[in-house]
Point group: none
Chain length 204, copies 4
DNA sequence: AATGAATGAGCTTTCATTCAT
DNA sequence: GATGAATGAAAGCTCATTCAT
């Protein structure tokens, strides 16, 4: 029982013999399962079933479960911008964080995409990817914080990253309430205070 | 002369019929493996081998892998106090957080014990346990914050919980640097700022 | 369909919870299948079915298919003596060869055991074993030939080994007739001539 | 300008619609793989890749893996002559055998072509082919031996065939040394002695 | 004629679990 | 209470084969 098809792909007969579409369907299904269940609990049979394609095509397109996982990881939108539109000041940062963390942004995943980033396949290469992605996020926070005046500026930036990760985990994976139900509006105030506390008050 | 074996690990061969010690040894081994590897990657054979006892005893004492996991979860020291000695004011809270998050506190686990709390066996009962433990932590933070004056006081308390979780994850599971290497001294300053930002300045 | 149970083991209920017997049964079944079908065509499912035991026990006792193969190879009686009773002169050698090659000696296998020695699992370690076994056989032939007077004495000994291998292959695997049907009596005359031709006439 | 491609390996990309060349390329690749790896370890994908043609063409031209195997078998040059130039007396036979067995004759295969003849696909039809080919060889040896005077003349001829098979196996598949390294010159003397021993001295 | 997408069946391996002793 | 043999189910992977274009 491939438990519930959560992808919402066409029933059948529609996409056929379309390599690109097949790849896409597999990636979407994989991302969803990996994000929700983690690496081990995700079976290739279920991913294939969700995508509505044959199991062997996973091998064809991604080589192995690891390959599929890496591809799914790479295709997962990064936490906040990283498409160049990272907020340029602290106030905007708090607002962006609030929006992103209150999910809804990528409701398609069922879970916050940063959870995908935290999934572990046991591959060291994946661990490195994880580190790089979060380090990059920290670097951007540092920039948005204005001058890295304080000697522990980088540490403070990474604490904000950690907060983001923690909120995503506690909301999606744990379901801690009221945090899990908070809207962007609920979050923006407290987050602004944290940002200010960590990065210093806005330059005025 | 059956000498006391407080570690729960038998010398060898001459394991005595000491049910309590066997249980303890199994729990320790299980907690370690579960924390470091997660539920799926932990095999009962390895746990039994680590504990130096027969595999079938896991069934006898804990019924199943799920049972062992729940017992291990219950036996894991909670994040911060929870033995009644939760810090009573914001300054003490920041300090305690710094100490706990900088690990070393429970080096025996190899990883921060809160990670055990985040491990998922797929059982809903476990998810509930997880929620309860973190909710309880949030409640205690709320208390330490003085009066729950603000309407979003509980949300703010849970954001602090989320930060704790996030830091543990980012330090242990991700290894993000410099955060992963930070000492209690490094952390206390920034954390004090976050606590103040979230809970308001100390009443002075 | 585990095609025909050729092992002749008790139907069921007899041997139970007897590790040694289980190992033995698996080895016998494996030897038979490997010898008759080769490495690739032999499935562990069929071996287990033939032995009347559970598939997973192969892992328990031999680690893997390769492990089972190596164990089966090691447990296969060597071509001619090698238990110390190698014929000490040329006449006896021809007679022994005739007897061994006319099979019936190890009818239990269904095929001549030297075929097992020729089976290839792709493992280099196995290839080495193969070489060693045949080299040892060549060495013994050399000894039985009296003094290694001629400079190509070793080559001639190995040609006799090759003849043995060839006869086994052509009889068992190919079924070339009349060679496949020849009795020891049929073979001894011609083989004596070959032995003399290769190793020189008996010292008389 | 479609240049002639006698190797059957296309330059690249511009494979012409030359059915005959495609067939030839496939057969060559198949023969090589089958000879070196055996039936099971040879994958059609690899054969197609070696031949530089599309996988599906194997089906078109040969119907199935079995079909390809049979065609490859049929296209394999027979052991010794069989093109009509079989040696007509014993001395020439020993010399021809030496040359053929010392390989180099069909170095293109990487292995002695008689190994292809021994490869097993599990098909009874193939077994029959195998038998026929070797029986034919035996018949020719019998002829070359002069009159079939002795009652066991046919058996003796087949023993010589078996020797040929054994030498090929022991040289190529086993790598037994010094036999594996012997040159035609090394072999001719001993083989002459075997031929004489088996078929009687040349009529002089 | 030729291509590449898609499929189904089967294999080894791995575990949690259960059963006798 | 404790041991180790035995089992069943499922997973990842591989490959010959078939189907559209």
């Amino acid at each position: 029982m491939p438990s519930d098809d959560v992808t919402g792909r066409p029933g059948d007969g529609t996409r056929r013999r379309d390599a690109a579409a097949t790849r896409r369907a597999l990636l979407l299904a994989a991302r969803t399962r990996f994000t929700q269940l983690g690496y081990d609990r995700t079976t290739l049979r279920d991913v294939a079933a969700d995508a509505g394609v044959n199991l062997a095509l996973i091998k064809r397109y991604f080589g192995s479960k690891e390959g599929l996982f890496k591809a799914a990881l790479a295709s997962t939108p990064r936490f906040l911008g990283s498409d160049g539109e990272f907020p340029r000041d602290r106030v905007a940062l708090a607002e962006a964080l609030s929006r992103q963390l209150a999910a809804g942004a990528w409701a398609e995943f069922g879970e916050h995409p940063v959870l995908m980033l935290l999934r572990d396949s046991g591959d060291e290469q994946v661990a490195q990817l994880r580190r790089q992605a979060l380090a990059e996020f920290g670097r951007q926070v540092l920039e948005a914080s204005g001058g890295s005046s304080a000697p522990d500026a980088r540490l403070r930036a990474e604490l904000l990253v950690a907060l983001g990760v923690g909120v995503a985990v506690v909301r999606s994976a744990v379901g801690l309430r009221p945090l899990a139900d908070a809207t962007p509006e609920d979050l923006v105030g407290p987050l602004r205070d944290v940002v200010e506390g960590l990065l210093g008050p806005p330059p005025d």
